[in-house]
């Protein structure tokens, strides 16, 4: 075979483009012909080295552009952010559920009537109260006593006499004594 044919077949062999049968035949031929082997080997070596060189270059370039993922927060902050998100979601769910649920029936507070002075009732009124009530003697007696001695009901909002009022009262009494 001619040198160029040998070289082309050697190139095909090195690049894996020959069929199995062709590989066997060509290898047998090379084993028998030393001169052909001397022509084939350099081109096969060039194939292998070219492949290695290009792979080395392209892989080195691929390593250069392996970007690190960008961290928005440092490690501690990211954990904190996760927890904050969990709390926010829980709060949101709580508010949403609370808004959707039916309000529970609540009792109205009883109206408390605050009196600053005891109720005045005439003798007829007392007669009626005592006759209508089915309470005992001592309770009726206590009510009668309370009516006779008006006093301040605890917890009322009646204002206490101020220092100025007391002073005015003292001045009035003093002027009255002086006139007498």
């Amino acid at each position: 075979m001619e040198r160029e044919t040998i070289e082309r077949l050697a190139m095909d062999l090195a690049l894996g483009e020959l069929s199995e049968d062709a590989v066997t035949l060509f290898e047998t031929y090379l084993a028998e012909h030393i001169e052909a082997r001397q022509w084939a080997e350099p081109i096969m070596q060039t194939c292998i080295r070219t492949r290695q060189s290009i792979m080395q270059k392209t892989q080195a370039a691929a390593r250069l552009t392996q970007y690190e993922p960008v961290r928005l927060f440092p490690a501690d902050w990211s954990a904190l952010a996760r927890w904050a998100a969990v709390v926010a979601i829980a709060a949101f769910l709580g508010v949403a559920i609370g808004r959707r649920s039916v309000p529970s029936p609540t009792q109205r507070p009883e109206t408390v009537v605050v009196r600053t002075a005891p109720r005045q009732a005439g003798p007829e009124g007392w007669q009626r109260i005592l006759s209508d009530s089915e309470q005992g003697f001592w309770q009726s007696k206590a009510i009668a006593m309370l009516q006779s001695q008006p006093r301040e009901i605890p917890g009322s909002f009646e204002s206490q006499p101020s220092l100025w009022d007391r002073y005015r009262q003292f001045r009035k009494e003093r002027s009255r004594e002086e006139t007498h």
């Binding site: 160029e4 070289e7 082309r8 190139m11 095909d12 690049l15 483009e17 350099p42 081109i43 060039t46 194939c47 080295r49 070219t50 492949r51 290695q52 060189s53 290009i54 792979m55 080395q56 270059k57 392209t58 370039a61 691929a62 250069l64 552009t65």
Partner: protein, 167 residues
């Protein structure tokens, strides 16, 4: 339907992205440019996915797109043919280093090949395409691919011998 297409395209991308990127890097000699070119290439492939006529392999079709993407990119950047002819070796910063290892010397030797031969070498060794796929990508007969590749390898070998004998 859309889901199937997405899955198919995603799988195709995973299978070929390394090769496309390597091929683009050989042409541009820049990792970032290779990324841009690969992205543009896949964008074009995505848009024209249905235009594949089924002749040859999908990979050969993709590399035809990649080749056109390269051509357009160089044209846009205003690089003339002579700049391309100089190849990757002269653009590399290590080119002026006095002593080179074998891999670097070989890389430069590839860069000094003619555009025709260099392209064949890139498609074969960086993109790892078969003769048939290269033929479909370049739209030439398989015999032409073999003869061009053979001449390219001979040229590389001669340059390497010069380097070894001369320095």
């Amino acid at each position: 339907m859309a889901r199937t297409f997405q899955t198919e395209f995603g799988q195709f991308w995973r299978q070929t992205c390394g090769k496309v990127r390597a091929y683009m890097f050989c042409a541009s000699n820049s990792a970032s440019d290779a990324d841009d070119l690969a992205q543009e290439c896949y964008l074009r492939a995505f848009r024209n996915w249905d235009r594949f006529d089924g002749r040859g392999s999908r990979q050969a079709w993709l590399f035809a797109i990649a080749r056109n993407t390269q051509t357009d990119w160089f044209r846009k950047r205003g690089r003339d043919a002579r700049v391309l002819e100089r190849g990757a070796a002269e653009r590399a910063p290590e080119a002026s280093a006095p002593k080179l290892d074998d891999a670097e010397a070989l890389w430069q030797a590839v860069g000094r090949l003619t555009a025709e031969h260099r392209e064949i070498v890139h498609l074969r060794f960086a993109a790892d395409l078969s003769y048939d796929e290269i033929a479909r990508t370049l739209n030439v007969p398989v015999g032409t691919v073999r003869s061009r590749l053979h001449r390219a390898l001979k040229a590389i070998r001669e340059q390497m011998e010069e380097v070894q004998n001369g320095t």
